[in-house]
């Protein structure tokens, strides 16, 4: 029997005090690959079991398949494809993909290389001669925000408005009714409404107008499967706006932090820029931006590692733990940019594999190469740095460094 009660490991992981280094707790958690929690939910933390359920068609992403409703679920607007199952998920993702990637728009991301490089250069120019830099506020946040705003067709100058909403939304992702103040949930729900209303306003102006941004293209789509409804477009834009920068901020910041902790790798990167390609894959394994898929639902009984998870159960997937599983990766706690066998879970797996992964990769590769090249003997001011609250989208809230 692999299921046992593990009353305190998960709460300890979720507790803010573990944010800087949750990995030893993940190791403890992996002793029970499928761990039943006091509230009846299940936590999966080992690589084989995670990849197994991520390809299991009985694992639902739709809250309506949970036997105990999610707090606030009833008030939710049309879910985005991340929270839907086939065939709806497939249809909406396909329709969004028409304007972002292959097969319909194959060259978009690769063609952004010049633009990404220019944004990065501009940001670094602004702080290149300063001694103290906050990698988050000066660079890792403004870079992907600029990129996703341009791609989506959201005015960059509105950033201060949606920044607050996005923070509330992310805080509420892992809302726990037994430990968190009700305010965390209501703020998140209000912020979702505000952001939807804002995006809906932008969408209203795009109908019937030409334009290359995603919002305009979705509003005027004439593809084989027709056009998304306005509700669906707002949900999709909402998802892409949030996921399009929040995760990349963490990936770039975690990357810089990891390089500063491994100066020999940082030094290599200066002379071997191609190293950045496998290095970003290793980052996605070693310090991924998304640590947890907070919930999935068992559509019917699912047997995982000899444990029967009953229909309707809530299942939490500890992706970052799976990517550190010694049963799958040699020496998993070592950061090794030359690692050969690296099928990490950094972007998940299966039909919900990160929609924007290719863009996030390219952004991070360009960002880290530029930082390595242009910063002069950088060092950390505080290690560990202060972290953002979320255990789900995990990363430093600031990363102060010094250079000479």
């Amino acid at each position: 029997m692999t299921t046992t009660e593990t009353p305190d490991i998960l709460p300890r992981i979720l507790d803010y005090s573990s944010r800087a280094d949750p990995y030893p707790l993940y190791a403890e958690l992996r002793r029970t690959p499928v761990a039943l929690q006091e509230n009846g939910s299940y936590v999966i933390s080992t690589y084989r079991e995670l990849t197994g359920v991520l390809h299991d068609p009985r694992l639902s992403s739709d809250v309506r398949n949970l036997s105990r409703p999610m707090p606030g679920a009833a008030d939710r607007a049309a879910p985005a494809f991340i929270n839907l199952d086939p065939p709806e998920h497939d249809r909406l993702r396909r329709m969004a993909m028409r304007h972002f990637g292959p097969p319909h728009t194959p060259g978009l991301v690769a063609g952004m290389e010049g633009e990404l490089t220019a944004v990065v250069s501009g940001l670094i120019d602004d702080f290149a001669d300063r001694e103290r830099i906050d990698i988050v506020d000066d660079f890792a946040y403004p870079f992907p925000v600029t990129v996703i705003c341009h791609l989506l067709g959201v005015p960059r100058e509105d950033e201060s408005r949606f920044h607050v909403w996005v923070n509330h939304i992310i805080d509420a992702i892992n809302y726990n009714p037994s430990t968190d103040p009700q305010e965390k949930l209501t703020n998140g729900m209000q912020a979702t409404q505000d952001l939807r209303q804002y995006l809906g306003g932008l969408l209203d102006q795009r109908h019937g107008r030409p334009g290359d941004d995603l919002l305009t293209r979705l509003a005027n789509d004439d593809g084989p499967e027709g056009r998304m409804t306005d509700d669906e477009i707002v949900s999709t834009a909402n998802l892409l706006l949030i996921a399009g920068h929040e995760t990349t901020v963490n990936l770039i910041t975690n990357g810089m932090l990891t390089l500063l902790r491994h100066p020999e790798v940082l030094q290599r990167l200066r002379t071997e820029p191609d190293l950045v390609v496998p290095l970003v894959e290793e980052l996605l394994r070693y310090e991924p931006p998304v640590h947890i898929i907070p919930w999935r639902a068992a559509y019917s009984d699912i047997t995982v590692a000899d444990t029967v998870i009953p229909q309707g159960s809530q299942i939490m997937l500890m992706l970052a733990s799976g990517s550190r599983d010694p049963a799958r990766f040699d020496d998993p706690d070592r950061f090794d940019p030359d690692r050969q066998d690296n099928q990490h879970l950094g972007f998940g797996s299966g039909i919900h594999l990160c929609f924007g992964g290719p863009l996030a990769r390219l952004e991070t590769q360009i960002a880290l190469n530029a930082l390595a090249r242009r910063l002069n003997r950088p060092s950390l001011i505080a290690d560990p740095p202060p972290y953002r609250p979320s255990p789900v989208l995990r990363g430093p809230i600031h990363l102060h460094i010094e250079q000479s």
Binding site: R48, T51, G52, H55, D56, P57, R58, S60, D62, N65, D85, P86, P87, D90, Y299, S300, D301, I302, G350, I351
Partner: protein, 463 residues
């Protein structure tokens, strides 16, 4: 070569000959060097040039995107081999451990790997096969010839045989706007590999793309003009089709003729071997020094009642090559069994068709996910109440789950519903045209992930 010290000597300076220098042969050579074999390695192949990949020949090459000579296989490492190319092996002497080449040269070995693969089955009338415009597709020369014929703007292409290769070629014709007739003896395309239900879907797909699909007919004669150019085909139902190009896609013939008098267990299905890729002799005794891998190997699979299975699958060639290589330089106790679940793919009419398991080893099939009319679905195959295979159309991301069901001998039909299972999904007879399968035998489960840890455990029956 049973003792560890002898093996050590063999790994250091033994002689290994690999007959068949294509995918399986190359991957075996690379794996042998990875395993630390430092002795002499000889690669024998009947085609000139470095090993190349064949799947693109019926796809990217025919569209004109990739030149036929552009599919040379990448090297994963240096293999430091002596290459004897352009002359086929024509005899194996097990008494003295020599391979004889067609030019009379004799190549000695301590251990040998047979990976001579398959060649295209030619049109059965030699004079008709020799007509200009009649093609098979197996080698890069074949593919290049067909590509040029397609580029010349033929009035119509006739594809004889609607298996995977024939269907892929028909798909390319339509992509290039070339009128195409497909003739198939069975009631539908792909029926021999995937059964009647999928066959119907494949037939719909072909017709929707404008293929003139004629099933249940046999091509009886290929007619040429005075210049020896193919012009017309005659069918068993009395009809005819005028075309400039005929592609004979009637499957393959295993290259085993050179082994006829070798004393090995050789037949039309290839060279029989154990699950460790060691060849059997005619008496059914396993040999110590002769190994087999790839399309030419016929290997018992415990998951499928220990039946001997021959597969013309890319991944099977790679996996068997690696197992064979490992076992060639390992002691009995360290040998690995070849236990991977077969996987296969075909790309046609814009659809990615994939399978896991052995779909022909089934009595029933059921659609478990998606929509058949949209050509986006998964179908599970079952035999005597357990899952034995699955096929996906543009739904490959789910197949790992079905692989698990096969490995764990999960009950069929799969009992648990999924969010997008069709409401009317019921198992139907799989309906292969060939002889029906025999009675139920052993049921096993497979455990382990890396080749070195995969093992079989017997289990009790579901029914």
């Amino acid at each position: 070569m049973s003792s560890a010290t002898t093996l050590k000597g063999f790994k250091r300076d033994g002689r290994i000959v690999i007959v068949g220098a294509s995918l399986a042969g190359l991957r075996a050579a690379e794996a042998l060097r990875d395993e630390g074999f430092t002795g002499s390695l000889t690669m024998i192949g009947d085609e000139l040039g470095e090993p190349y990949d064949r799947p693109p020949l019926s796809k990217q090459v025919l569209t004109g995107w990739v030149p036929a000579e552009g599919t040379t296989l990448p090297r994963r490492r240096d293999i430091d081999a002596e290459w004897l190319l352009g002359v086929p092996a024509d005899h194996l002497d097990l008494a003295t451990n020599h391979v004889r080449l067609a030019d009379g040269r004799r190549i000695p070995f301590d251990r040998m790997l047979i990976s001579t693969g398959v060649r295209a089955r030619p049109w059965f009338v030699e004079a008709e096969a020799a007509l200009d415009g009649v093609f098979v597709v197996r080698t890069r020369e074949d593919a290049d010839g067909l590509r040029r014929a397609m580029a010349a703007g033929p009035s119509r292409v006739l594809v004889i045989g609607a298996g995977f290769t024939g269907s892929e070629i028909a798909s390319i014709c339509r992509e290039r706007g070339i009128p195409v007739t497909v003739a198939e003896l069975a009631p539908a395309p792909l029926v021999g590999g995937l059964g009647a239900m999928i066959g119907e879907v494949a037939a719909d797909m072909q017709r929707a793309h404008g293929v003139d699909l004629r099933c249940g007919v046999k091509v009886t004669r290929l007619e040429g003009d005075a210049q020896g150019r193919f012009r017309r085909a005659h069918f068993s139902d009395g009809s005819t089709v005028d075309a400039d190009v005929a592609v004979v896609a009637l499957g393959g013939i295993r290259n085993t003729e050179w082994l006829r008098d070798s004393g090995l267990a050789v037949g039309v299905w290839g060279v029989a071997c154990d699950s460790g890729c060691r060849a059997f002799d005619v008496n059914g005794l396993v040999t110590d020094d002769i190994f087999v891998a790839g399309d030419v190997a016929r290997c018992p699979n415990p998951i499928y009642e220990y039946r001997f299975i021959s597969l013309e699958h890319w991944a099977n060639a790679v996996e068997q090559a690696e197992i064979a290589a490992h076992n060639m330089v390992s002691t009995q106790a360290d040998r690995w069994p070849h236990l991977s679940i077969p996987t296969f793919w075909s790309i046609q009419f814009g659809v990615n068709i994939k399978s896991v398991g052995v779909p022909t080893y089934a009595d029933e099939v059921v659609v478990t996910q998606g929509s058949v009319p949209d050509h986006r679905f998964v179908a599970a195959y079952g035999y005597q109440g357990r899952v034995t295979a699955a096929v996906s159309f543009n739904n490959a991301k789910w197949l790992d789950h079905y692989r698990q069901l096969i490995e764990t001998a999960a009950p069929f039909p799969p009992s648990c519903p999924t969010p997008d299972q069709p409401a009317d999904a019921k198992p139907v007879p799989v309906d292969f045209p060939g002889p029906t399968l025999l009675a139920q035998g052993a049921t096993v489960v497979v455990t382990g992930h890396d080749p070195g840890e995969r093992r079989v455990t017997a289990m009790r029956q579901h029914r």
